[in-house]
Amino acid sequence: MTEIANVFIIVFILLGAFFILVAAFGVIRLPDVYTRNHAASKSATLGVLCVLLGTLLFFYFKDGYFNSRVVLGIIFIFLTSPIAGHLIGRAAYNSGVKLWDKSIRDDLKNVSKAKDTAGKGQ
């Protein structure tokens, strides 16, 4: 295993751990569920992608073993984690979780109100 591959693997793993830690701090400190969802579904995804890329490079450069399941895991997490974040955010809005007090703009408010009156009209 060459030194430059070593450096790449270490940088990817430490960057991924840093991103996951930042995501956890965001989930603790941010004020409402939508901003927490924003932190958790972006930062944690990027961190896990970096860690998995480091793992793939480690096993490839250590003994020439290219594991395709790790590639599939990278692609799958990259595709599905934002979808899960979108679904849980939409479920939170439709089940009536309040926004933060200081948030000033709610573009979906009139839409949901119009949908309510249309539903009563039927």
Partner: protein, 94 residues
């Protein structure tokens, strides 16, 4: 060398998981808890990858894809339950 780095990264991710567990226990609404549990599932993927580096074996790499799929299915099912009250709907057009 890389084993030491992997242990340090496992320590960081464990601290992150503890923070998310705090959010699961305290979170004021149900979607907070679901967001935190989804992030815990994603963190477990990273922990499995780093443990397979630290133990220097490639026997655990199938678990990565499996945990990703299970976390996604759980989150989708729970958000559908929160939104509609049921997970699998009956077909009314028949």
């Amino acid at each position: 060398m890389i084993q030491t780095i992997a242990m340090i990264a496992i320590l960081c991710i464990s601290l992150a998981t503890l923070a998310l567990i705090y959010r699961v226990i305290k979170g004021p609404s149900i979607p907070d808890r679901v967001v935190a549990l989804d992030a815990i599932g994603i963190n477990l993927v990273a922990i499995v990858a780093l443990i397979s580096i630290a133990l220097n074996t490639n026997a655990f790499l199938e678990v990565i894809l499996l945990l990703g799929i299970l976390a996604f299915i759980g989150t989708v099912a729970f958000s559908k339950y929160l939104e509609k009250g049921v997970i699998i709907e009956h077909d009314r057009d028949r």
